[in-house]
Amino acid sequence: MNWGVKWKVFWETLSGEFYRKLFFQGLINTVKIAVLGLIIGIFIGTVIAVVKVMPKYKKLPKALDKICDVYVAIFRGTPMVVQLLIAYYVLLPVLGIRGVEAINVGIAVFGMNSGAYVSEIMRSGINSVDKGQMEAGRALGLGYAVTMLKIVVPQAVKNILPTLGNEFITLIKETSVLSFITVYDLYTALGAIGSKNYDTVMPYLFMAFIYIVLVLAITFMVKGLEKLMAKSDRKKAGGVI
């Protein structure tokens, strides 16, 4: 195997205008879907987690709890590919919705899927916060939702940040299934070079390299964020006047 030649052929193809554009389009799509998916996921996950830990005296929280159970069961119980296929090829035609771009469907499905996972992460985060924090807020006359949002959830997020980073990494890598619904992501873009040259060695190795770089970048960012949020910890509290 002549690695030098293979690399040269691959690099020439990638440098060509068409494939370069395809590659950057794929890279942008991958990052965009993962980031937006995570944001939607955190939002949905937080809502579900709060419903889950809510005291259940009344009927409404009980009903919401059941709905959340069903939601989590569906989105954790089926593979992401199946969800994408159903959303794009079954739900959209059945509901008669036209003109939705595949990438938006991807973002929505990624968000909803990750919401199911984040809800459990967030719930453990909320449970890790001392019960006294909620009591202190309520004793001041603040409502349940306000105390949750201003006091408990920020502390919970701090505790679960490493796990949320995990979720983000999973999402980045999962984007490779988006080719099923015709979205150009990193996998499709580099795969196209492989099919053009009848040689997949370099494209696949390069693909792995790009994914690793992305994941390392996320790891780095999460660490930075952790440091930033640790300012209320005793060791890091440099801001004492």
Partner: protein
């Protein structure tokens, strides 16, 4: 006896956790300006009694009238009443993610802004209705801006911090403070809401012995200023010194109540006698 309506009126309060009876039948009145100390062996239900007073634990039966309204009723908006009932916890429970200043101003700013929002919303409704009215209704005068509300709360918080000599800690996080400092800040956090009564749930039990003094001093000063307070405590000397009335609770009932002198010097109830012989 004065005939003034008591601030808190507890009638036949009952509380059980599933099938464990914690409070059997408690009735008492707390008048404005009165300092009530609650003593008793551990597990007797005194903390539960205190937590029932602001419905941190929902009573299983009976009534609690605060300001003439029954807050034991589940339909009552309890948050509205909790604004006027301060509470200080054994474990301080300062908000760990907020600085000391934010801890104190959080609730006052929140309620100030909420009221501000409500007034503006009302004004908007009046203005819209005025379009169709012949004789226009005047708008509500809003004197404060959002910024002013925040500044006022900050000023008040700094004033309170100065009072306990911790103004240089305003921007510190709770994790950097000592237990005594945390508890004093927790007390002024309750005070910043201008409550009508403060409930103290064993305020010194989690403190190092040398820090107990500073916290008790602050509570004593508040008592002298005429703040109504209910204190669950194991500090018998302190209870005796500041309380107008002492309740001895054992196995969910008030076994004896009276002035500190008669309770500590001439206990009638045998359980109280036994309890005092152990702790004094």
């Amino acid at each position: 006896m004065n005939n003034e309506r008591p601030l808190i009126c507890v009638k036949n309060l009952k509380k059980n956790f599933d099938d464990v009876m914690v409070l059997e039948d408690i009735s008492t009145d707390i008048r404005k300006g009165e300092k009530v100390a609650v003593i008793g062996p551990s597990g007797s239900g005194k903390s539960t009694f205190l937590r029932c007073l602001n419905c941190m634990e929902d009573p299983s039966g009976g009534n609690i009238f605060f300001d003439g309204e029954d807050i034991a009723d589940m339909k009552v908006d309890i948050n509205k009443h909790r604004e006027h009932i301060g509470m200080v916890f054994q474990q301080f429970n300062l908000f760990n993610n907020k600085t000391v200043l934010k801890n104190i101003t959080l609730a006052p700013v929140y309620f100030g802004l909420k009221k501000h929002r409500a007034e503006r919303c009302k004004n908007f409704c009046i203005a819209v209705a005025n379009l169709f009215r012949k004789n226009k209704k005047p708008l509500i005068q809003i004197t404060q801006t959002r910024k002013m509300i925040k500044e006022k709360a900050n000023e008040r918080a700094m004033e309170l911090l100065k009072r306990i000599g911790l103004e240089e800690k305003a921007n510190a996080y709770p994790s950097t403070l000592s237990g005594g400092q945390k508890q004093r800040i927790a007390i002024i956090r309750a005070l910043a809401m201008n409550p009508q009564v403060i409930l103290f749930d064993e305020p010194t039990s989690a403190l190092d012995p040398e820090m107990v003094g500073e916290v008790l001093d602050l509570i004593r000063k508040l008592a002298e200023e005429g703040m109504t307070m209910v204190i669950v405590t194991h500090e018998m000397g302190f209870a005796r010194e500041i309380a107008d009335r002492v309740l001895f609770i054992d196995s969910g009932k008030i076994c004896e109540e009276g002035s500190p002198q008669e309770l500590f010097e001439h206990p009638k109830n045998p359980r109280l006698r036994e309890f005092l012989s152990k702790v004094l």
